[in-house]
Symmetry: C2
Subunit: 256 residues, 2 copies
């Protein structure tokens, strides 16, 4: 099967002009088919504070009330997404920005209220892999903002890691998919204070152990849970690495 | 040639939930191929004021400094564009939001500084009509935000009427194009205070006369100048009407 790289980049990268420049260079240099999924939570939090909108997080997830949904739509689908697309075009890489509403590519369902009401947050129901296949075969790189839609007229805020995983899984029936999560560290660290203590390989058993020890915590837990779910659902490889290391086979490889 | 409707809707419509609902209904009901171009200046002005960014207008055009470019990118390409796309999807109309950077569909050049420095404002250089033809032939309605790009990594703020005209003109070699400008009035009015005083037809001679009398003034002048330029460049019909009257052959018809 043809190879396909699905790359997810976190907030700190896309929101720092210099880090973003490095990401664009390394992304452009990657050969073959590729899809970029980006976050942008820090800019959203900053803009929220300038607008006097309270940012509330539970378990690392943003509570998305109506005002926050507007805010993240502006920041994710507007500011960050279009900046990346314009930069890719300048580098000669044809691309198009997408939310899940565009071409109906990612449909989701508003998360049911249990002990927490996350508000306008969507759990992915269906990725239309044809949309992505057709764009890729036309030479157009999809750049996906972390927003989906419910098919009833509302956008829904959706975790970028989840979107990257779901897109990777849906395309794994047609492509040999490598899913890479880029962030500001070189990989998953054994000692958070030591940037060079990258764990080269993590399997499920090691994950359980690291989690119990507290070595792996916070936002890394859902990231790795996503990684394992993606592998179980057909993705060939999951890599967690630094944006500047894209395509260099460094970082942490996650395997079942 | 196959018919194609290029519809431009102004700020007051897309920013008022009830007017937007009417627009979506009448747009969805239109048969045949169609493209939607939207504005959104009022929301941008409102958000600018909440963020303490000064909105400066010269001759009805926004001066776009770096902070304002970010702002309009958020509002036009994010908030308004994605709201429209999500609503169209809910109405069963497949669509995708675009700026000029997406799929490199509208390239522009930063306006040279003369007596006024408009800042990050783009004058359209090239519309890639293939991008729009391909989307239309795939059953996808393009929804265009009033932003273009310079091909060097920067988005540029571009008047939505101009974008609608340029897109209509570029597609007029392959389609029989009707270009419709929707706004909050029933058409061009002979007496601004009388909403029913719609001028049914305006030709160039009448335009010069109305302008001299001051009957036509302000934002309507560039709108009509755009209309005449579009007709001269190959567009079949230009109509100026109310959003709710879309497709009903009311309003003002502009002809050479």
């Amino acid at each position: 099967m043809t190879g396909l790289n699905v790359i997810k980049v976190g907030g700190k990268i896309v929101e720092d002009p210099s880090a973003l420049g490095n990401l664009i260079s390394s992304f452009v240099a990657m050969k073959g088919l590729k899809i970029l999924v980006h976050g942008g939570g820090r800019t959203a939090t900053d803009l929220a504070s300038r607008l006097g909108i309270e940012s509330r997080m539970v378990n690392g997830r943003r509570i998305t009330d109506a005002a926050t949904l507007k805010l993240v739509t502006m920041v994710y689908a507007g500011l960050i997404n279009k900046d990346i697309v314009a930069r890719l075009q300048a580098a000669g890489v044809d691309s198009t920005g997408l939310t899940g509403a565009d071409m109906n590519c990612i449909l989701s369902r508003k998360r049911p209220v249990t002990d927490v009401d996350y508000g306008y947050v969507g759990d992915v129901e269906k990725v239309d892999s044809d949309v992505f296949s057709k764009l890729l075969s036309s030479g157009i790189i999809p750049v996906i903002a972390p927003l989906t839609h419910d098919g009833k007229g509302s956008l829904l805020n959706t975790n970028a890691d989840t979107i990257a995983s779901e897109v990777a899984v849906s395309l794994s029936s047609c492509f040999d998919v490598t899913l890479t999560f880029c962030f500001e560290k070189k990989g998953v660290l054994a000692r958070p204070e030591d940037d060079d203590s990258v764990i080269p390989v993590i399997d499920k058993q090691a994950f359980v152990k690291y989690k119990a020890y507290g070595t792996i915590r916070g936002g890394m837990i859902p990231k790795l849970e996503n990684a394992f779910a993606a592998l179980e659902a057909g993705v060939s490889r999951v890599v967690i690495t630094e944006a500047g290391e894209l395509g260099r086979n460094n970082g942490t490889v996650v395997k079942l």
